[in-house]
Symmetry: C2
Subunit: 255 residues, 2 copies
Amino acid sequence: MLKVVLLGGGNIAYHLFTAFGKLSSVNLIQCYNRNIHSIEEFGKFTQITDDINSLEKADIYIIAVTDDAIGQVSDMLPFSDNFVVHTSGNVSMYSMNAKNRRGVLYPLQTFSKEKLVDFGTLPICIEAEDEKDFNFLKAFSSELSTHVYEINSEQRKVIHLAAVFVNNFVNHLYYIGHELCEKNNVPFNILHPLIEETTHKIMDLAPKEAQTGPAKRNDQSTINAHLEQLPNKNYKEIYKLLTASIQNTYGRKKL
Amino acid sequence: MLKVVLLGGGNIAYHLFTAFGKLSSVNLIQCYNRNIHSIEEFGKFTQITDDINSLEKADIYIIAVTDDAIGQVSDMLPFSDNFVVHTSGNVSMYSMNAKNRRGVLYPLQTFSKEKLVDFGTLPICIEAEDEKDFNFLKAFSSELSTHVYEINSEQRKVIHLAAVFVNNFVNHLYYIGHELCEKNNVPFNILHPLIEETTHKIMDLAPKEAQTGPAKRNDQSTINAHLEQLPNKNYKEIYKLLTASIQNTYGRKKL
Ligand SMILES: NC(=O)c1ccc[n+]([C@@H]2O[C@H](COP(=O)([O-])OP(=O)(O)OC[C@H]3O[C@@H](n4cnc5c(N)ncnc54)[C@H](OP(=O)(O)O)[C@@H]3O)[C@@H](O)[C@H]2O)c1
Ligand SMILES: NC(=O)c1ccc[n+]([C@@H]2O[C@H](COP(=O)([O-])OP(=O)(O)OC[C@H]3O[C@@H](n4cnc5c(N)ncnc54)[C@H](OP(=O)(O)O)[C@@H]3O)[C@@H](O)[C@H]2O)c1
């Protein structure tokens, strides 16, 4: 059995803890957090500690703490030449202390404690300095998910940036759609099937092929009517900028 | 059986034709299009014509042509005081000729001929000038879908505008995410589970509650790093504007 020590007591630590509990091949021998209260419930199933100097010997140490604290926690590790990974999409592998052999295990999903996550098909992006460690990490991650990708630190940064567009910014557009509906006594859920279809479409089709709408069609009279209809300057600017960006992507056809 | 005449030979006409074929309560007695070739395949199942002066007597006439041609086609109808609806999200009911009793049957989805649509739970937005016609249209639409909404022309315009944000603009953000990935040899489908989760989240949670990310967190160092990383001015501007809009929505917390 693979021996694992988990460091951190937040969202990711919680979901990894739950996922490891289901795997017969993985033995989570210890959990550490600077604040023991956050990991108290883990104590029923494994050893817990808030003393970083009493970490057990393991095959892999997973640092699942806030991005800014990853380097610091790696500095505090009371050993060297062990295999240590972090779980961030946004932090280079090299920001961890070089006294240990370094790697990354980044589960590409948005996690919150309230919502169960099925790791089974979740993309896991892995990276390691050393080839033997990489092979170990690949086998280890494959226990968690069937979708394991070799992704270097540069690519991981790109994924994190792209995720801001397809997750954070998309959600903000949902918010604007929601506001427009609510202010006009239209139930937002009338748009749910359209939203689902928009998402499903790009599972088969490149987003470039899936584009429709007044901007793509260069339908200037609809664009003007929409701009007039929008209730504030901020929404108008977003509308204009995204419309112009779509028009630049497809070329402004002469009508 | 309800007698229906369908005018138009495009996407919507095609999908309505298919949906009516499955309903024992609806008799599609005739299809018209200015160009008979577009509706030739309908001819195996119903009468087809390109002569608007030979339209049969029906309970409802559905004008499913390009937005700009709806008024014109309604002018050409060789009868009066019949019930006539169009299928557009974007055109007022009153843009049709007042010689007939007017209404709207707007299926809120993005249609293309290649892809089958299940009308069963599709939102259908209906409106009619006359109360009796409205009740008829409600019963008629309920044969097509369990999700029929009474939506006036003003509300319909709002829905259409909101749809631009949650469908057209969202798809453009998918496109940008796709571009960023491709340019860096990252397979875009690594983001599919995140995209699906982003969509599923707002089926239970208001988009305002679902927001996450550096803009929401006011994580300025990540925002700066992302802006630096973006390959062109256009993407940078979109990033800045949407980030500012998210920050304005949640208030810039002092750190
Ligand atoms: N949430 C996601 O959707 C997601 C997805 C993929 C990857 N990640 C990555 O996973 C990592 C953890 O994220 P999370 O969402 O689990 O964060 P979180 O829920 O905010 O939890 C943060 C954890 O870091 C600990 N911590 C914070 N500052 C610390 C410090 N100075 N020293 C030691 N420990 C400290 C906290 O300890 P206390 O309990 O004592 O406060 C807490 O256990 C991050 O690198 C993040 O980028 C997150
Ligand atoms: N597609 C969607 O996702 C969707 C969703 C909801 C509502 N709608 C609405 O449904 C209606 C039809 O859209 P669609 O997607 O089916 O359009 P479409 O596929 O482009 O088909 C347009 C139809 O209109 C006819 N037409 C165009 N100009 C005409 C004119 N001057 N006189 C007579 N007929 C003319 C065309 O005839 P020819 O075959 O002779 O060219 C064709 O049959 C529009 O009001 C649209 O807003 C569309």
